[in-house]
Point group: none
Chain length 149, copies 2
DNA sequence: CCATTAGTCCCCACCTTTGCCCACTCGATT
DNA sequence: AATCGAGTGGGCAAAGGTGGGGACTAATGG
């Protein structure tokens, strides 16, 4: 399965359009897909999936939705499916970010699109900087002793 | 089977008509169906089913509706099915929401129509905001650390 | 049995938003 | 120097969301 890597600096234009890295679009085309799947992610970012990755998520992780507490299960499904949206890049390779996802991720103007393996992530630049400082840096120090690489 | 996703902000007009997202109607047309099925849902929302999803629900009857307490099961099924109604979008793509369902979901003016996988859900905006705050957010906090995505 | 009223359906109309297309700039490459 | 690809901005036609009139139906009441 295709792996998404790299970091790209883009900007959200007045019409809430956001460029998708050509490499990702190329991968999409190779998969013979027309659309990505965009949804709200953890720690206040957005997740961008290729169709195959999205399908895998639905297939594999449907068990993650299966909870003994059905009320909680409904809550999860509601959030997951209602935030998700199919986005097709326009002729310039931009996708349209819905207002509610823009708010979820606190997107302003400067936006980071970066690969995260089985998905890409979209971050507001400032929020990413803060997250990196507050969480990634300390985590690195801490887990270094137990990681092989 | 078709998956319903995405979030749409609409309003209930003075005649209790409510827009259905074009994407959902498109899916309906692809299924060669003319009507959705609308009924009262859990946590004070409304469920909107595509014909195929509705059929599946009926077929899965035993599993879907089974409760240890059979009297409760009968009570729930009575409400669920008596409140159900077949709704056909008009030329503008709007469905008519019966008065009793409007009350069930506490619909006022601002209404959310959102995908929930095997169905769509219709929420009063304020009620959804409260539900998100009171139920979804805490559930995510609790389970977020163990989620793989 | 007729008159009235409420509710529904079918139009039409308006206006905002969306999506599509074209265009400009800039840097890298040939 | 010219060309190409990429990122960004904006114009414009089309689609989508909303409101309301008028006909028709059915239930209600005199």
């Amino acid at each position: 399965m295709a792996l998404l890597i790299g970091r790209y600096d883009y900007s959200l234009d007045p019409k809430n359009r956001l460029a998708v890295p050509p490499k990702y679009r190329e991968t999409l085309a190779q998969e013979k897909g027309r659309s990505f799947y965009l949804t709200g992610g953890m720690e206040g970012c957005l997740y961008l999936f290729l169709p195959a990755q999205w399908e895998k998520l639905l297939a594999d992780d449907l068990r993650m939705f299966s909870l003994p507490d059905k009320e909680q299960e409904r809550a999860f499904k509601r959030k997951f499916f209602s935030e998700a949206v199919e986005v097709e890049p326009d002729a310039q390779g931009r996708i349209l970010v819905p207002q509610y996802l823009k708010e979820h991720a606190g997107l302003r103007f400067d936006v980071l699109v970066q690969g995260a393996g089985n998905r890409a992530e979209i971050w507001d630049s400032k929020r990413w900087a803060a997250y990196e400082k507050s969480t990634i840096a300390p985590a690195y120090k801490k887990i270094g002793k137990s990681l092989e690489i």
